[in-house]
């Protein structure tokens, strides 16, 4: 049994048992409250550069399966669990070089993060290799998440066809896109092509619809991507999800800001203004688009009132902060993707 720990930049140190790869992982300490979908979570590129604490008490219970991958590899840098519920999961994490601890007081971590905000941190697989004081020194030398452009590190490099057949043609701009988005688009009748984050407006303009995907990090530094979107909007129909929603906001003159500790989970209620209905949504974001008097949000978080979606009818664009594709999480918002694809006109 190897004892490791997680150290936070505020000096908090919490010990645990190492269950996966050895080593030290630096990153931003965040937590997710989703009770299922651990493999989907760690392979979601939006988690790039983060040390994820699962609030679910038992993680890894039902093993691993490639069908649950949201991308080709895990992007989280470290995993913190109260208890690891299965050997297959631990082995899989180890095979991908992920440092993971169990027997961690995850609730204490969550309360610290809730109070102090998401923090720089390090997961140390073996306490004998690096003492906590030294780790905290090193943590404080790491860059903060704010201002980090992480999209280029997770995006695909070349355009790729996801599927050939479809009533309409959709391009997904991959800022760190989850496979569930492509799968849901395909199920809704779209032929999907995935473009790298640096795709230009002209690359995309010929599609019936363009989906701006989710992705990691701060939208602020992504000026080239924002410029491309500004150039694109008004041409094909555009749908933004998560980071895509934030970039669309920036491209239309809105501003974004960092939430204290983000929304990460599968139980976030969102009010759909048009219908008065509540959707229970899957969320994973640390930044948000600021509300504005000029444009009424189409979706609002019932949890903290933050903007969860905008509509730009004049630009034939719309966006949501949450994840209608789920994976993991509820399917309440699937219709947002399905209706968008249905509404697209083949060129």
């Amino acid at each position: 049994m190897t004892v490791g720990y997680i150290a936070l930049e505020d000096g908090t140190v919490i010990s645990g048992r190492s269950v996966a790869a050895p080593g030290v992982a630096f990153g931003e300490a965040v937590f997710t409250t989703a009770m299922t979908g651990y493999q989907e979570t760690v392979t979601d590129p939006s988690f790039a550069g983060q040390l994820v604490t699962f609030t679910a008490p038992m993680v890894g219970n039902y093993g691993v399966d490639d069908a649950r991958l949201e991308s080709a590899q895990p992007w989280v840098k470290g995993v913190l669990m109260r208890r690891c519920g299965g050997a297959a999961w631990a082995t899989w994490l180890a095979s991908h070089g992920i440092v993971a601890l169990e027997e961690v007081d995850t609730r204490m971590l969550v309360l610290r993060i809730r109070e102090a905000g998401a923090m720089r941190a390090a997961v140390v697989g073996d306490e004998s290799e690096l003492d906590a004081a030294a780790a905290i020194e090193l943590i404080r030398q790491q860059p903060a998440m704010e201002g980090q452009a992480l999209v280029s590190s997770v995006s695909s490099v070349e355009p790729t066809r996801f599927n050939e057949e479809g009533r309409v043609r959709v391009a997904v701009v991959d800022y760190g896109a989850k496979a569930s988005i492509m799968r849901r688009l395909k199920r809704s009748g779209a032929a999907v092509t995935v473009y790298p984050h640096a795709a230009s407006a002209d690359d995309l303009a010929g599609y019936d619809g363009v989906l701006l995907s989710n992705g990691p990090g701060d939208p602020g530094p992504l000026v080239d991507e924002v410029a491309a979107i500004a150039d694109l909007v008004g041409r094909p129909s555009v749908l933004g999800i998560c980071l895509g929603h934030q970039l669309l906001g920036l491209a239309t003159g809105h501003s974004t800001y960092k939430l204290p500790f983000g929304h990460r989970g599968a139980n976030h209620p969102v009010l759909e203004r048009a219908t008065g209905r509540v959707l229970v949504t899957s969320q994973n974001h640390g930044f948000a688009v600021a509300a504005t008097d000029e444009r009424e949000a189409t979706y609002v978080s019932l949890y903290d009132g933050t903007v969860e979606g905008f509509d730009y009818p004049e630009l034939n664009a719309r966006s949501v902060q949450f994840h209608p594709e789920a994976g993991p999480g509820t399917h309440d918002a699937w219709p947002i993707l399905e209706r968008w694809v249905e509404g697209l006109q083949p060129a």
Partner: protein, 1018 residues
Amino acid sequence: MPRRTDIESICLIGSGPIVIGQACEFDYSGCQALKVLREDGFRTIVVNSNPATIMTDPGFADRTYIEPLDVAGVTDVLRRERPDALLPTLGGQTALNLAIELAESGVLDELGVELIGARVDVIRRAEDRSLFRDAVESCGLRTPRSQIVTSIDQLGPIPAPAVVRPAFTLGGHGGGFAETEGELRAIVERGLRESPITQVLVEESIRGWDEFELEVIRDLNDNVVIVCSIENLDPMGVHTGDSVTVAPQMTLSDEAYQELRDASVAIIRAVGVETGGSNIQFARNRDTGEVRVIEMNPRVSRSSALASKATGYPIAKGAAKLAVGYTLDEIPNDLTKTTPASFEPTLDYVVVKFPRFAFEKFPGADTTLGTQMKSVGEAMGIGRTFTEAFLKGFGSRELDPGSATPWATFDDIPDGVHPWFKEQLAHARRELASLDILRAKRAGWGDDSIGAAWGTSGDDVRRARYARGIKPSYRRVDSCAGEVEASSNYYYSTWGEEDEALPPATKPRVVIIGSGPNRIGQGIEFDYCCVHAVQTFRALGYEAVMINCNPETVSTDYDTSDRLYFEPLSPEEVLAVLDREQPEGVVTQFGGQTPLRLARHIEAAGYQIMGTPLTAIDLAEDRELFGALADELGIRCPPWSTVEGVEEAIAAAAEIGYPVLVRPSYVLGGRAMRVCYDDAQLRKAMSAVSGSVLVDRFVENAVEIDVDALCDGEEVFIAAVMQHVEEAGVHSGDSSCVLPAQSLTLANALEVEHIVKRLAPALGVVGLVNIQLAIADSTVYVLEANPRASRTVPFASKAIGINLVEAACKLAAGKTLRDLDLPTPRPIQVSVKAAVLPFARFPGADPVLGPEMRSTGEVMASASDLPTAFAKAERAAGRPLPATGTAFLSVNDNDKPSVVSIAAALAGLGFEIVATDGTARTLRAAGLEVGEVAKVADAAADEQTVVDLIADGRCDLIINTPQGSGARADGYRIREAALGARVPCITTISGAAAAVHAIANARAETALSLQERIGIGA
């Protein structure tokens, strides 16, 4: 959508007496609903026949009717109160079935009462098997392949093995699993009899599949949230009420869980539940992932109470608010205050529920678990991991030594449990074997288990961990896994973690110890008392802290106390809470035997027991001490002796003289108590007990009196003198009782009073005391004294209009009776308490009353005279007395002289009298006209027997007294047949006399509300 303004008054139906499958969870849900409806300005009217409920307290609704839950009873109330709406979704299956009957009978239309919470067509679609199947199939989902059967000749298309489920019965009552064609036929026949609409479903067996439940809520805007998922450890085939269950579900992947979530949402929409909670059960094949929808309850259920306690999400409150027009986004989450009710709870801990069985009470009964629920209560454990929660739940059952129960020991893993759970249990074993205290504690092991495993003692383990500073820490249940700051006051313990700080002490604290899982002998009455204790101490300016582990109760509602610790009621956990809380006092007199068993540890640890000191308990329970005290006070007890072992018992009995009563100490509900008429019976009774046992003379043909009194250490207030309907020898919990006592002579009444007034202060009682007495030939004997709240306290409080628990708490807090200045009780009506027995659940056990308590619940009825009150109580207990018809009588020789007048009275009322030969001879000799029917044992092959008579429905009333114990002859067959045919069967002569008196003299009388009866509110 805001609250409806077109309705002003709402009538809520409760669930009646506690029965298997329907327990105090409906008091919890009803209380929550009444609370929010009143806060919202509605005038509330509640109808429930169960006096031991908090919801029937005079302060809980504007009008409270303790009336039978049948069409006549509720109609009477509706006619009087003319409410705008009727809310039936919080009172279990009883309320739902009643709502349908009321709607069908036209009463609701006639009186202009709107059904809210669930429409009739919705209830039908959920409850009627074929309509439900259609609704499920319309969602593209499947129910198990099945066939609706309304008569036995329709059997065929579905072969055995198959499951039989009768329509509209609680807890799957009357159903079962059939392995063979013969069994199938028998169970279908029984199910058709049990179903009020003579309909059963025969369905394909999915035995062995995994079972899941989802708790779903929907509002008028079609918003749906899933409050909780629950996974059963026992796979399909075992009723979920009898299954060990875990929340949240542990073994489903996200895609598999979302499939069930989507299915639940689709089903609640298809069935059309618009406002409120539902429980939907699924079976899932572990290997293929195939899913079948098993059933849905379109109402608050046992599982939803469990889900509420598991998540902190108040489903019943929400359901009540939705029923009056609110939507989910308009209702704030109580624990966080900032998030709305549409926030699906997410858990950072695990809960495990264990059922509590009482098979030891029903010798002969089949103990295998099936689709018909048999457990009588439940306990829940909360931990940060599965094993921690499991071990807490496991240990919270408070099993009696040697009791027959599934999962009796840790390694007793039932068949078919998912390998994941087995691996977790193996992990717990490995952690225990690590010889590392913290690891063992974090896995969930108690000090005693660790001590036993390590060849040392629990005390040594405790000392070792104190030396290392290893103490439990306490975590909040906040419904959001810490994501949002919550002011929740709901805690559980865990190990090796940070503690969530206690609020600063601004007031003195008291800790009230609850009564743990419901069991026979210790049920809802004690939770009622604990809740009142909490309320009283809060009103007195204390912070009241509750410890309990029963998820069904009002006491474990986070709203009830200042702080709730959901913990096992064993010394380790209770002392740890006391260590954290540092209370000024600990209250142990309201939770039955459970807190009394802890009192010694509590006192030894240096905490103050409030009210009656521990010495009083010893004085009352230790027969030597009690006997000496009684002698000193000149109080007569039946001759007695304490013995150990059979030989001592036989010797003692020879001296005392038969019949004798064998009774172990420190037990509730007369566990293992027996009346013995000879050495053989005594030997048998002694073989079932161990240690020191009291053997005393059984006073035959005595009238038994129960007294509840208050004492401040010096003065005594006699609150209630109750007379049992059945003679001494029938456990007081199973006997009907009457207040005020009807047949006490003035001299006896004065002597009873005199005894109680001497005995209570001599015992040192500060608070409540219950004294049981027997009167035979004008001699008054004290049978026992219990220096604590008794089972009759809620009944007595409601009959006399004085809150006895409140008074007792004030005394415990230092006030005197003089300070309280209680009014002399002068009830304007006669109140009867009647017991409800679960015999129909335990085929094979003899349904006869005796000194061991076997009832699960009770009802109360009040009227201006005894016959009317008695008849109403019998109706409320679900065995309405027939007005006319055929009465069958068969009594033992002792009872033959007294049966004559009963038979004569019945004949005078127009009953046709039928009897077996012995009884018939007696009656004929007295000049009565009697039809004779053969005993089963004596019958010729083609001769009609009494059992045929009963089974054919040609008998309306049965009076059958047992022929001494052990004889499983005719009497047993008769009683069993009566149970099957649902014919009232009376097994004591005194009970029969009361029944006949009631049939002859009961009058139609308008119901009075409790408020009117006790003269408060208008």
